[in-house]
Symmetry: C2
């Protein structure tokens, strides 16, 4: 029988249909490479130079309101623009391009410059979840929008250029490549079984109880069997719904609690503000019924050995195949051992 903690092996990512490579024996390798700087963790509650703090002016001169919970605005440096005209380019099918229309927004999670999700109360996180749901509803009302990506880059190592707690939303006129893959795999499964892929996957994970980190009333956080990043996790809704639109008040409260517990456990691993990129995957909008789509949220954190040594997804990984050293089960064990009270509050 395949020995997961000793033998190099690959595992299938059910959502993309692609494999990841696991080299469990390799975590013994010494590290003499790049070590990250630790960002100083003594931010003021209010920073007069921060473009996200209440009452401050942004790049275009607009002044932020004196907001009390979360706050959303159109990104001053949007990667996608609403006024992009539809157009295409094709040279002998060898050079192919088409314009992409979109709206990019920034969401401040809190008026407090010094907080992050794991340091906020469940009620405060709930107000972020409410805003996500509201934005999803409002953006879906634009008929030309087909997909809405809600995400957060946390920490400078993840390209976040402002430590004020915030996330982003990019809504666009076509389906991004990762969504196409997940749509296809979920559709194939649903057609053959009449249940969502994640419904059955969640059942088997709950039964095995090896990779489950948080098991709440309406949401589960787990290390997926096919995790590529060292401490990659996924939050899955127990109810098979295509998007955040379907969540009730109770579910939103439960999601806030799940987010809080998961991110506290993350921070506690290395007693540091744990960096990650995280975001929801949801059904395309304005594209008909989506019964195969099951709401979930991915967390891709880069740290591997310590607060300052990350996993490098480089040469082999970029050219050939994503690869990891510690197994998903080892990562799950570490996450399970963490306290559910934030280390700063202990």
């Amino acid at each position: 029988m395949l020995n997961f903690s000793e033998q190099p092996h690959k595992r299938k990512n059910l959502l993309t249909g692609e494999y990841i490579l696991v080299s469990p024996h390799r975590s013994k390798r010494p590290w003499q490479g790049q070590v990250e700087d630790l960002a100083p963790d003594d931010r003021p509650q209010y920073d007069p130079k921060c473009y996200l703090c209440p009452g401050n002016a942004r790049a275009d001169g607009t002044v932020n309101p004196a907001y009390k919970d979360s706050f959303v605005f159109v990104n001053d440096f949007s990667a996608l623009l609403e006024d992009t005209a539809l157009d295409a380019f094709n040279e002998e099918d060898l050079l192919q391009a088409e314009t992409e229309r979109g709206i990019c927004k920034v969401i401040s999670f809190s008026p407090r410059h010094d907080l992050t999700l794991p340091e906020m109360s469940a009620a405060e996180i709930k107000s972020v979840v409410d805003l996500w749901q509201r934005e999803f509803r409002e953006l879906s009302a634009y008929e030309w929008i087909k997909y809405i990506q809600i995400f957060e880059n946390k920490g400078s190592i993840m390209g976040c250029s402002n430590p004020h707690p915030h996330g982003q939303i990019w809504a666009q006129s076509s389906l991004p490549v990762e969504i196409q893959k997940e749509s296809e795999q979920q559709a194939i499964y649903f057609r053959s079984k009449g249940r969502t892929l994640l419904q059955d996957y969640l059942d088997v994970e709950l039964r095995k109880n090896e990779r489950i980190i948080v098991n709440n009333d309406y949401f589960v956080a787990l290390v997926p069997f096919w995790a590529a990043w060292p401490y990659e996790t996924m939050i899955i809704s127990k109810r098979a719904v295509p998007s955040i639109l379907a969540f009730t008040e109770e579910e939103k409260e439960d999601l806030a609690k799940t987010l809080q517990e998961l991110t506290i456990r993350y921070d506690n691993i290395f007693k540091t503000s744990f960096p990650y990129s995280a975001g929801m995957h949801q059904a395309p909008v304005n594209s008909g019924e989506q019964p195969a789509w099951h709401w979930h949220m991915h967390f891709y954190p880069p740290l591997l050995r310590s607060a300052t040594v990350k996993k490098f997804m480089v040469g082999y990984e970029m050219l050939a195949n994503p690869q990891r050293d510690i197994t998903p089960e080892q990562a799950a064990d570490t996450l399970k051992q963490q306290a559910t009270v934030h280390y700063k509050a202990q």
Copy 2:
């Protein structure tokens, strides 16, 4: 007509079949995020502590020979192992895994600790190309090996833990995910046109002459129309051959010259040792004739704005779609403007 330098658009990567997103207007965005440390660039020719320098001992106690050009050995911390038994795991098709067998090697490019490819002579680089070809031939002789990935991680920002110039080879028993994609796209094209995809793509690029950086007798270096990384390039052989095995002495000399010129231009952009992950994509081995496969080499360099500010492929890119700011044509212009003499030698 689609305005590439003004309108957000997506371009099709012919080799993977996937799109990348281009946001040309976004390069005006100011940067307040992470700035990399510049590694000190004053290495000695010989470092007594380096496990790649001639005559030094490695992790397992083996002493390197007093080699004069390039040198290869099995990685002391191989991610894949030759003695892995074939095995598989499947739980209701929801948890799927199989063992992966392989051989990982390290190639020192030079006995000199202080050099990098762009600082080596064409003759010295040719000896590395010879070694790549020899290794490819020898590894292909193992019938269970199906794919051989030759690559280099250059610079600590790319996870390289030893500045001694070196690359790696990972040979394995199944096809990595990127190779599956490229195999499929190239096969579809070859079946319908009877020519390789890159043959026709190269023709159109040479005709347009907008993204060509080096045009030698046997090889072309260009910025692909669908480049995702800021200064991503690709070297393509003018002859449609499936792997490095087919290269003649003249071709290998020409490849060495092409590698030298491309990497010198890279270093000259920011007058720094330009980091990248680079590697060849070649036909699977021990898998029958591969007429659709066309040898090429990808360069994925992370730097965007300066020697210390890189492009972050994070939240949106990981969850949805690779995205770039400067256009491939702007990157090609910058590369074309560089001198072909290394800045340190000027």
